[in-house]
């Protein structure tokens, strides 16, 4: 019991931190990335597809299979996010509507892939392809693997913090979200910076989705949905006021609430659906407390038009 709570907390914190940071990188550069959910779904399906195909081919689940799965998931997510970045940055489409369209599109692409690789089935049982099952043994319990995953994610997050805060690229990225014309006047291509930010955003969303299916107890089978985790990540981003440290804190706090509800839910009541509602309700109640004093990037969602000066 205790171990499943601790392990679940590690993995969930990793998932939600990565997903919220995906939103953060997009929004600080001025693009509203509503399609985090879509990116996560593509990451998940990339992971599942690769591991299933390789395992079917070589017969066993080797240690390197999940790593390749994670990479493919990241690439899938970058591809689907680039649909948003091209539409929003180059063609000046409405960010929110295009993001919604991608959120509708991604589960369908994922479903088609799942059906294509599993002989007409609409789901794939994931337990045999999970990262955890590869490494877990008597000497290495599951929570230790989950801790290692979380620590590597923490290192990655630290690197991203450094990039955002202390490098010229991070400064330019933030400027693209606050005042793109000033950035253009300084001789930097706003389009390039925004596209790069969306690239990072897509990669993070895909990584988070792939980790979700590779080590999280909720996914005993993958059915082309990620239970709206991407939207929760967006809400965490708003709770964290677009500041990295608060977003990470919010992600960890939310993961704690979620995992407690998820583990203790069936214990308290047979009708555990009450308790499953809690995380969503918590977000709905806390959003108004934080939204009134918004510190959102100023140029967020406004298409940048190069005036040629």
């Amino acid at each position: 019991m205790f171990e499943s709570i601790i392990g679940g907390l590690f993995i969930l914190a990793a998932i939600y931190s990565l997903a919220s940071l995906s939103g953060l990188f997009a929004e600080r550069s001025g693009t509203i990335n509503l399609s985090i959910n879509g990116g996560m779904i593509m990451g998940a399906v990339g992971y599942i597809m690769t591991s299933k195909l390789i395992v079917d081919d070589i017969g066993t689940l080797e240690w390197w299979v999940p790593i390749i799965g994670l990479l493919v998931g990241v690439i899938f997510s970058i591809l689907v996010t680039s649909l948003l970045s091209v539409a929003a940055i180059n063609f000046r489409g409405d960010h929110i509507i295009v993001g919604t369209a991608i959120n509708i599109l991604a589960p369908i692409i994922s479903l088609i892939i799942i059906i294509a690789i599993s002989n007409g089935q609409q789901f794939i049982p994931t337990t045999s392809y999970q990262l955890i099952t590869v490494f877990t043994s008597d000497s290495l319990p599951a929570w230790l693997i989950q801790l290692i995953v979380m620590l590597s994610v923490a290192v990655l997050v630290g690197g991203l913090f450094y990039v955002m805060r202390f490098t010229s690229f991070g400064l330019r990225l933030r400027a693209a979200g606050e005042n793109p014309h000033a950035l253009a006047a300084a001789g930097v291509s706003v389009f390039k910076i925004r596209h790069l930010a969306m690239l990072i955003s897509g990669a993070l969303a895909g990584l988070s989705g792939a980790i979700a299916v590779s080590g999280f107890i909720k996914f005993s089978s993958y059915t082309s949905t990620i239970f709206g985790m991407g939207f929760i990540a967006l809400a965490i981003l708003i709770l964290g006021q677009w500041r990295m440290q608060w977003v990470i804190l919010g992600a960890v706090a939310f993961s704690a609430i979620y995992i407690l509800a998820y583990v203790y839910g069936p214990e308290i009541d047979e009708n555990q659906w009450y308790i499953y509602m809690v995380p969503y309700a918590v977000i709905l109640i806390t959003l108004p407390l934080f939204s009134a004093k918004s510190r959102a990037p100023k140029a967020e969602g406004i298409p940048y038009v190069n005036t040629g000066r």
Partner: protein, 379 residues
């Protein structure tokens, strides 16, 4: 005065040919979306499979009275959901919560019928249906107002709050459906007293509701002062403020109207077409397809009707596909890809190949003349 003298044909010609009308862009993106979706399907299932899926969408071998009636009901539901989204968009809000509002209304309606003795004693189906009508709409409006109040007074983005509400509603459905009878909640222990035998009557009532709602929404938005105020607020909250409108009240109003339309969609979906609250794992799809319907209709209430018809045809009759051994969700590729392309219609604003070629030729001519003059001067 000249414009009034133009013949109808010239007007239609202008409407189609003038590129500034977004109608042209929507048609182009529809075509492109359809082609891309078809290519995706062919890439997965091969040419035979793709052709089969397309055929079973349009040449129905499986048509009987009931499937056509359910298609017509679906048309009504998608239209009403699209209207709810479109009305919100006119007033500057993106109501993704149509799905949750529909379901909340339907759920409370069924709980009321199931639980209260008084409702059980109402003998006439018509009476039950009439009471359910008002209950569904009231609950739907309340659900919508939660997001409205959060937006008006706390500046919470309605996209986030409505998505959270959608999921809370899903768990409410699971709570009630599971505690009752298996996976889906059926009134009177599976006694199909509403729909069975009356599919066509209910489908026609649904379409009548849709057409009435579409005309009413159009009249309200384009012919009344209230509608003008709503649209003005949608364009710019600040401008509405300077004009002396109470933008908070207007915002709440638009959430209420959008909720009423979503409630109508829920009523048609749960009471006139389904006979149950199905056990769901995620927010129902119709609410999201409503976004696509509204976009293709260019957010015009009257254009919603043909747009909903198109999407009902594209996502509706899946029997032929199921029989052929494909997953029924395949048809949603069309709606997903088309939504994406319609969302980026601005792309087609710049896609004018003939103008582009003319421009290229002109500039190259200019360059040539410039070069010639430069060469002459050099001599």
């Amino acid at each position: 005065m000249e414009t009034t003298n133009k013949s109808v044909m010239t007007k239609i010609k202008e409407f189609i040919l003038t590129p500034t009308y977004s109608f042209r862009n929507v048609i182009l993106s529809l075509l492109l979306g359809f082609v891309v979706a078809y290519v995706v399907i062919i890439a997965v299932y091969g040419i035979d499979g793709g052709n089969h899926i397309l055929r079973s969408l349009f040449e129905q071998d499986f048509l009987n009275s009931n499937t056509v009636a359910s298609l017509v009901s679906k048309f009504a539901v998608l239209g009403l959901a699209g209207l709810a989204v479109a009305f919100g968009m006119k007033a500057g809000i993106l109501n993704i919560g149509v799905s949750g509002q529909m379901t909340a209304g339907g759920l409370v309606g069924y709980i009321l019928i199931d639980k209260s003795d008084w409702m059980q004693n109402v003998d006439h189906n018509a009476g039950v249906l009439a009471i359910a009508f008002f209950v569904v709409i009231a609950v739907s409006v309340l659900t919508s107002l939660v997001a409205g109040v959060l937006k008006a007074f706390f500046k919470v983005n309605e996209v986030i709050s409505t998505i959270m509400i959608n999921w809370i509603v899903v768990y409410f459905v699971k709570l009630n459906a599971n505690s009752e009878k298996g996976d889906s909640m059926i009134v009177n222990g599976g006694d199909t007293r509403f729909v069975a035998g009356n599919e066509w009557a209910f489908a026609i009532v649904g379409v009548a509701i849709l057409i009435f709602a579409a005309v009413a929404a159009w009249l309200y938005l384009s012919k009344t002062k209230g509608g003008f105020k709503l649209i003005a607020t949608g364009h710019s909250q600040d401008v509405a403020k300077y004009a002396g409108y109470n933008s908070k009240v207007l915002l709440l109003k638009s959430f209420i109207y959008s909720g009423v339309l979503a409630g109508l969609a829920g009523y048609v979906y749960f009471f006139l077409s389904y006979n149950e609250i199905p056990g769901i794992e995620a927010p129902i799809q119709e609410g999201f397809t409503g976004i696509a319907v509204a976009l293709v209709a260019m957010v015009n209430p009257l254009a919603i009707v043909p747009s909903a018809m198109l999407f009902a045809l594209l996502t509706g009759p899946v029997d032929g596909i199921v029989v052929a051994g494909f997953a029924p969700d395949v048809v949603q590729v069309f709606s997903g890809v088309i939504t994406y392309f319609v969302a980026i219609t601005t792309l087609f604003l710049y896609l004018r190949p003939i103008n582009w070629m003319k421009m290229k030729i002109n500039t190259s001519k200019q360059k040539n003349t410039v070069n010639e003059t430069v060469a002459k001067e050099a001599k």
